[in-house]
Amino acid sequence: MLPGEDLDPLPDGDAAPAEESVVPAVPDPEGATEDEVAAEDDVPAEVPAPAPDDAGPAEPVAAEARSGWAALGSALRFRGSRAQVLAGLLCAVLGFALVVQVRQNDEASLADLSQADLVRILDETTTRGDALATEVNGLRRERDQLVSGSDKRQAALDALRRSAETQGILAGRLPAQGPGVVVRLTEPNGQITPATMLNMLEELRNSGAEAIDLNGSRVTASSAFAGIPGAVTLDDERLSPPYVWTVIGDPDTIATALQIPGGALAAVRSNGGEGDVQRRDKVEVTSVRVLDAPKYATPVPASDG
């Protein structure tokens, strides 16, 4: 380590055909630059002992032969010399700055890009934004459809439930209550025929009866009267007087309809019976009829039109 020698001798690089450090030691052949000129001062001193650190061989060529790796090895040896500490410090600074710059560069700023690149990036970003906006619209529409779909589904469920209740009442599947009349038929002077009872039922239906109970049995669309006078049967169950009809419907309409001259009650009287119609604000039809599931009939599939 000779003091004063410049770190950067002429960067002659590969151009120098002669071997290694001997060449810088003889400054004349190359065009002199500042570096070389500066190097000139110390070179003569160096020539006799080219590698002082290497326990130098006197002959320059011999020193050259082994100076490379030996110098590197001796430099790598751990010493607390000022030079090594200084070099370490500067290397630390260099490494720090290097990493900082690399990291900084990773966050590549748009400022470094050319106009064409910027236009391209802007274009790509715009296209991407448009695509995302389209996707947003599609998803929003789908969500709206799903929401309204679930609304429709709920509405359909509600409608079905109401329909089921209505049909349950009409079919006699569910107990019901409401305004109506109670008709009590007695047989003081004779016997009421099944036809009269059927006539009575038809009259009730005509006048808008919605739920009908006769002596604790629900009368439905499939109900049938049979038997003989005095032994009327409803759906194969024998009825005994007095016959009590509990009817839900408009009380006035039903009562009036029953009283029509030549109507139901007139028929009862012609059979020798008595009829008594009471209008009630609230009657209850608690009897129900269990319906078998249809064996042959199935619903017609709903067509989408």
Binding site: M1, G56, G68, L90, A92, L94, L98, Q101
Partner: protein
């Protein structure tokens, strides 16, 4: 050896601390780093030449960095910052290459 350790310590410190480069230093840091690299290779070559000197190394390191930054600064002021940065990088790159070639000849005799 201390130099290698220093380099590692510097890299680790940079990774751990993750500092942000001040805005006004951003144009100069890359050039300064390249200049420092040049000084490092020059120092390595000088060491192999047996003419390493810490004082020269320090001076060369600092002056390289300062001069490189100064050139870039001047270029920025003159409106040719980009071109001048390129010029500095090219020159320093050539020097690094020639130093590396010299080192290579020292180590591999080729």
């Amino acid at each position: 050896m201390i130099a290698v350790i220093g380099l590692v310590v510097g890299v680790v410190a940079g990774l751990v601390l993750q500092p942000t480069v001040p805005l006004e230093l951003q144009p100069y840091l890359p050039i300064a780093v390249v200049a420092a690299l040049d000084a490092l290779f020059g120092g390595l070559r000088a060491m192999l030449d047996g003419i390493f000197d810490d004082r020269v190394f320090l001076t060369s390191f600092l002056s390289n960095v300062v001069v490189a930054a100064l050139i870039v600064f001047l270029g920025d002021q003159l409106g040719v910052g980009t071109q001048l940065s390129t010029a500095v990088v090219v020159v320093l790159g050539i020097r690094i290459f020639s130093n590396a070639a010299s080192i290579r000849r020292h180590l591999f005799k080729a």
